[in-house]
Symmetry: C2
Subunit: 419 residues, 2 copies
């Protein structure tokens, strides 16, 4: 009999408890051992819960029980989760967490503590909800040099952008609808301003490249400025506006992580991932590219990922899976957003003569003598949105200045995802 | 220093060797130990290879070296691969194989032998090439009751079907092009008749449901009968014809695995997976559904999966990962294809008046009093292809008979993938 405990009885925590009792025999078979839910830690009272006798208000109860092998943390926020998990790890108790904020901010410390005490700190649920991505990235793609990762890592913003396109809703209306359906919080900043996606790309970047990438090092821009016209014109150009979290490895070995709305061409599967689904594309030197898609949030989908961690930690209690990274201190291995080379999706304020507009732009690009310039580098529709070939920031600035000089008012531009 | 050996120096085997030397430092870091390629077994001569001194023609050389911890089998075929791997396992050497025919036919025996000798038999590369699917299915989704798996598991047939649709090629021309590009063998039966996909769905079914599913128990139909018209009419009905390998769990606990061309609606991501890519959809009670896509074949993509197995076996040499199933002997837990409930994509031999045709069909379906009948259950285009609601075989037979009675000649029908 091996015991585990759950910290936090909110959506995810109660999902873990529900899933354990629902599929208990299968879970125990996979874990290779009978299992018992020992404790649920929550400061609130749940007198009517069928598990009422399992509730505790203090971590000490859990730490004092030698039979507890694994603790699942589903509280959210950095404290007191961080303190609790450090205590668990120092007692040799493995931990599984769905808390992306915690891992993005304190991952290196937690992982080092786990290693020091020969136990594990798993966090499969922290990115992509139900989608298996942490193990696949760390273990299944272990023989690859990872070059790029792109993802829709926030279902709320994807739902909003989708509603804007398909139902012609404004950002505000789509947000209100997402809030009504429970997909968005009353205070939606973590989602719509990109912070949630930022934490997740921090985790994937740290895992893929071995050094802790902190959220404050990552350029992050949300979707508040995206308009109906952006969505419609992107569609007309055979693509979609998506909030993309990405990280690229640069030629000099540094990495460039960022979160921002991007134009994603329909050739890429990511452009067609709709609603609350998440999708992650991983590029490596042996695999070329692989995609992982599924529900990025929700009670049971997230619980599924937490439970998978618990099962492995119960089954391989003495095996240390070094799914980790180090705190490299300074973040000088991270390039700033100005170093991003990308194509531009440009939408003009007024409808333009497509052919004339294209000709002008082609003229500028030729004058700039862009290395990978070709006649195909500009496509346009007559509603006056177009896509350029990839350029450096200096080139983009110059191009935008020239267009302005020429009286072509730009309503909005955003980078093109080139994967 | 931990040694591994490679059996078979064809496309995949040479890819494993290439990838090891290409990314050696990263691979050793992940494996937590210096590694050495000890031997390459191949009956052919490779005098000009930079690894010429590593070649051996007998497995005994490898078995006699106590430093060999892992053997990667990339020979293909059942024998002598099976005999060699059983010998390795009985010596406590873990094995990693890309050989789907071997695992589909002899998996239960190999896995039992691995368990008996406290080592591992991994086969990540046997399904989906570069795509991480075996570990994700077994470990990351361990807390789920799996209900269905659907996949494009053969890139060659997907390439052919794609060419038929996009370039208007006949099956024969598309096959010839695939052969020219090296995507199809000179003797293409394993691909086009569905045997390759059948082996792969056997492996996924065995893993998901715990009992060995043998290829001869699986209804298998290839793509030889698919015509240009099928591809075009499917497209007109917002879907695509794909060779789908699937397994469903039935209400009585039995499973129904099969391989056949199906109409896949565009709402499902699988319909848009083109070229030589593979895509696997896994449905479970907690996750709802997750998708895994990537290159299903090729030298380095497949080598990536084999190398991931090698790394884990080197790193966790004494840890037994029970990624296994049992030989249940009789296959009476497997339902036959006649038990498949599915909608039909029906294409008539001559163009039809869509409205009249729909009305007739609706009449029949109403008379049949189908449980889930609704006015929406029939969609049609005037080129005379339509889609029905899900039906049992008896209902399908009756419907087809009625249509024939009525003088409506059916050119072709195929099941609709309803995931």
């Amino acid at each position: 009999m091996k015991k585990f405990a759950v910290l936090g009885y909110g959506t995810v925590g109660s999902g873990v408890v529900e899933l354990f009792y629902k599929n208990r025999s299968k879970i125990e078979e996979k874990a290779g051992s009978p299992m018992e839910l020992g404790y649920i830690l929550d400061l609130r009272e749940f007198p009517d819960s069928p598990y009422a006798e399992k509730f505790t208000k203090t971590i000490d109860t859990i730490l004092a029980d030698d039979e507890v092998k694994v603790v699942a943390e589903c509280m959210g926020g950095v404290e007191p989760a961080f303190t609790y998990l450090m205590q668990c790890l120092s007692h040799g108790i493995s931990v599984a967490t769905s808390n992306k904020e915690l891992i993005a901010k304190k991952g290196a410390e937690l992982l080092a503590e786990a290693k020091a005490h020969s136990c594990n700190c798993f966090f499969e649920a922290s990115v992509g909800g139900a989608i298996p991505i942490i193990r696949p990235l760390h273990r299944c793609l272990a023989a690859n040099e990872i070059s790029e990762i792109y993802g829709i890592l926030n279902g709320t913003t994807n739902y909003i952008l989708n509603k804007m396109l398909t139902d012609g809703m404004t950002f505000e209306d789509a947000l209100a609808k997402a809030q009504k359906h429970g997909y968005a919080e009353r205070e939606p900043s973590a989602d719509v301003d990109g912070h949630d996606a930022c934490r997740k790309i921090c985790i994937l970047s740290s895992l893929a490249f071995g050094k802790h990438v902190y959220p404050e090092s990552v350029y992050t821009k949300g979707i508040r400025e995206i308009t109906l016209e952006d969505a419609a014109d992107a569609d007309a150009l055979d693509g979609a506006v998506k909030l993309i979290a990405f990280v690229k490895k640069l030629g000099d070995g540094r990495i460039l992580p960022a979160v921002m709305p991007m134009f994603v061409p329909h050739e890429n599967m990511i452009s067609r991932v709709d609603g609350v689904f998440n999708c992650i594309e991983v590029c490596g030197d042996a695999i070329d590219r692989a995609y992982f898609c599924g529900r990025g949030a929700g009670k049971l989908p997230t619980a599924s990922a937490v439970m998978a961690d618990i099962i492995e930690e119960i089954k391989h209690h003495k095996t240390v899976f070094s799914q980790d990274w180090v705190d490299a201190g300074t973040q000088n291995f991270i390039a700033g957003i100005d170093e991003l080379v990308c194509g531009m999706f440009i939408r003009f304020a007024e409808a333009q003569n497509a052919a004339a507009c294209c000709e002008k732009l082609t003229g500028y690009l030729k004058a700039e003598n862009l290395a990978d310039f070709s006649e195909d580098c500009v496509s346009a529709v007559d509603h006056a949105a177009l896509i350029t070939c990839p350029m450096t920031k200096a080139q983009r600035d110059q191009l935008l200045a020239k267009l302005a000089e020429d009286g072509l008012n730009i309503a909005h531009w955003m980078p093109v995802m080139d994967a």
